[in-house]
Symmetry: C2
Subunit: 152 residues, 2 copies
DNA sequence: CGCTTGCTTGGAGCGCACTCCAAGGCCATA
DNA sequence: TATGGCCTTGGAGTGCGCTCCAAGCAAGCG
């Protein structure tokens, strides 16, 4: 049972923390990587199954041994995940990298498109922020008398 | 069959468009509201079922007739949705509004928390943007020689 | 009158991104 | 040697946010 970290010090499952690698080594177990990335070991194995990860080295007993390069890749995946990019698209990107140098153009396109998406997402959020600020100001002062909500 | 808009002019299902109400009336059918908000009629009915909407007026034949206030509420819901707020939390907010004036404090808290979430979300995205920009620059010039990706 | 269009309902189904389970292997410490 | 901890696998299950289905009713038109 309990295949989770073993290095947990916080009770309430903080998401990504416990980062930074000991950086003298280049070989990590799955639970170490789980601790570094905030992903679960389940998720790491799942990423591999769906083709989002490169072939990970194995110890003589068949256990996964992640390299620093693998962790770098996971960092990028984490960032892309934050943009809301679907996992399928990340898998596509991974495939392009695997396929070699002739896919540079396509990869560039994909990153550029993602960049555009992130920019418009930020704009959306700033828009929403403005709405939120107006509503909060409303609550702050005239609120009680004026706020016109809908439900009831 | 085909209970969709009837006012579609674009082929490829653009997300939110066709906004702005005719603003002389105060009573809209479900498919009009679908066209205004970009939500489907299914989703509108579902929102009602789960308690995210107020009780919507009905015509003498039992069909929904949305008011401008209802559309205002849907606009707010749309914004909150963009922040990634879970539907359950929006339902909670709707409940607070329904419960009356004594929930002002709690509502304020909820909006403030959401505001904080949006701010940190924006920061995250800007962070990601920086990573993306570096990677794109990489691809732009030295890319071919230097880019160190992971998969293979 | 019959047909079409748009609406109604409760409940089932779907896609995504995990999340977990059962059954078993390896190895270190007591 | 036995116990516990961490690892392995394929496949099943979960939660969220829709999305759709079947059956049926009411209004408008030829």
């Amino acid at each position: 049972m309990m295949e989770t970290t073993g290095t947990r010090t916080d009770t309430c499952a903080g998401p990504p923390r416990a980062d930074r690698r000991p950086d003298g080594q280049d070989s990590y177990t799955i639970s170490e990587v789980a601790a570094f990335t905030g992903l679960t070991a389940h998720t790491l194995r799942w990423y591999e199954r769906i083709g989002l990860m490169p072939h990970i080295d194995r110890s003589h007993t068949g256990q996964r041994r992640y390299s620093n390069r693998d962790l770098d890749w996971l960092d990028l995946v984490g960032k892309l995940r934050l943009t809301g990019m679907p996992v399928a698209d990340m898998v596509r990107y991974a495939e392009l990298v695997r396929e070699g140098d002739h896919t540079y153009g396509e990869r560039y396109e994909l990153l550029e498109q993602t960049r555009r998406d992130v920019l418009s997402r930020i704009a959306e959020l700033q828009d929403t922020l403005a709405v939120l600020d107006r509503k909060i100001a409303f609550y702050g002062d005239a609120g009680h008398a004026l706020a016109s909500e809908r439900p009831r």
